[in-house]
Amino acid sequence: MEKKSLKAVHDDDLEAVLKGLGIYGELIHGRLGCAFCKETVTWDNLHSILPDSGAIKCSCSRPECVKLLLAWMDKRRS
């Protein structure tokens, strides 16, 4: 049976993970924009963290951006 892994981070580890990735400061100072809608990503609306062309980006939890993220993931797979 094929196993698919879904990478996730729980809130308990989120601060440490963001620090490990070097984007914690940007997030808490409101300097992180959503990769899709460009709105500010905050602790409350952070949906996912994505690697894109050597940069680390984040996306917000607006349904439109979630759909764009899935489309972006599809495109990267094809």
């Binding site: 049976m1 094929e2 892994s5 996730a8 981070v9 993970v17 489309a71 993931m73």
Partner: protein
């Protein structure tokens, strides 16, 4: 009582046998262990910091268990979709910028304070999008892909966590279906009709799976998108037709070549039995290289359907049989009936074929 259980009860005694049977059942259903463990961790997480990490375990096992149960549940209608098990992999403080970029995988955030249960909705939507029919989805249009994901995620949530369905519909599905002239809205409408007619997972998704195997690794081709569009229209017309009404039941295109053989007219079945169906396939479908046959009828005609399939064992082989419920249209009345379906695939159909 089945023989192995009776044997265990007599040799080991009731208590031990029941224990062994329960353990065996759980091992055979790991997703059940995940779901029950999730409940335990959820209880422990109510004690706050006393059980540190309990909430994290609960979120992981709840999501993993329900997604895997849904995938397993697809085995009946769509076994080709059931072969995937999902595993939630935590990212923790050991992560580095370099390692994350090298691995190249998206990290989904799962919340501790999740009053709207968005964790499950986001995890389920991402799982459906990334796992189901992954090969075929690379070659279909964005609206076809998005419609399939929305439809299957709705199906998943309805079965596994109905309490979050409203949120998903309001936030994701309804904004798409409300748009005037939306392609997604039209596809969702068609999928609903095809599903009610019992043809979505067993025929449409099966055909998409075959197409995915054929085209995987090739360049994208607009003809695939157009064929999938036509296939949806073809199946919708069959799903809504009145019982006994003539309809086009063959779909012979470049990538997708299938036909539905409906065994049903009582007068014909009583008078002529299997012969007209077998002759029809031999004279009309085999010469046209129809690769997949869906022999469909009411459950009461099961023996006849099986016999027809035996007569066609050259050049076809049986892929699987399945029983399902479908809503059929008799004049202006819709009636739910038990159906029986046998899927036959032409022997020797090559996965890799020359481009049409």
């Amino acid at each position: 009582m089945s023989q192995p259980i009776a044997y265990l009860l007599t040799t080991l005694g009731g208590g031990s046998a029941v224990f062994i049977v329960v353990v065996a059942l759980l091992l055979y259903n790991p997703e059940k262990i995940e779901k029950w463990s999730a409940l335990l961790w959820r209880l422990l997480s109510a004690f706050g910091t006393l059980f540190k990490g309990a909430h994290k375990q609960y979120v992981r096992l709840d999501l993993q268990g329900r997604l895997n149960e849904f995938a397993k549940g697809l085995a009946k209608d769509a076994p080709f979709l059931a072969g995937t098990r999902v595993q939630i992999e935590w990212t923790d403080e050991d992560v580095t910028r370099k390692g994350f970029l090298e691995e190249g995988k998206v990290i989904l955030r799962l919340k501790r304070n999740d009053t709207e249960q968005t964790n499950f909705v986001h995890g389920a939507y991402m799982f459906v999008s990334a796992s189901l029919l992954a090969k075929a989805k690379r070659y279909i249009s964005p609206s076809q892909r998005q419609s399939l994901d929305l439809y299957m995620t709705t199906d998943l949530l309805q079965k596994e966590k109905p309490s979050v369905l409203g949120f998903f519909l309001d936030a994701y599905l309804h904004p798409e279906t409300a748009k005037a002239d939306s392609k997604i809205s039209r596809y969702i409408d068609s999928f609903t009709k095809i599903d009610e007619g019992g043809l979505l997972k067993s025929v449409l998704l099966q055909e998409l799976n075959y197409v995915g195997d054929k085209v995987f690794g090739r360049r994208q081709d607009d003809r695939i998108i157009s064929e999938v569009n036509d296939l949806v229209e073809f199946l919708e017309a069959i799903a809504v037709r009145r019982v006994g009404e003539e309809a086009d039941l063959e779909f012979a295109r470049d990538y997708c070549r299938c036909a539905i053989v409906i065994v049903g007219k009582p007068s014909r079945v009583a008078a002529e039995g299997h012969q007209p169906y077998v002759e029809f396939v031999r004279k009309n479908l085999i010469p046209r290289r129809i690769e997949t046959l869906y022999i469909l009828g009411l459950s009461e005609n099961r023996d006849l359907l099986d016999f027809i399939c035996e007569c066609l064992d050259e050049p076809y082989e049986r892929v699987r049989t399945q029983r399902s419920k479908a809503v059929l249209r008799y004049n202006d009345e819709w009636i739910r009936r038990d159906q029986y379906l046998v899927i036959l695939r032409m022997k020797g159909v090559r996965v890799l074929q020359a481009s049409p």
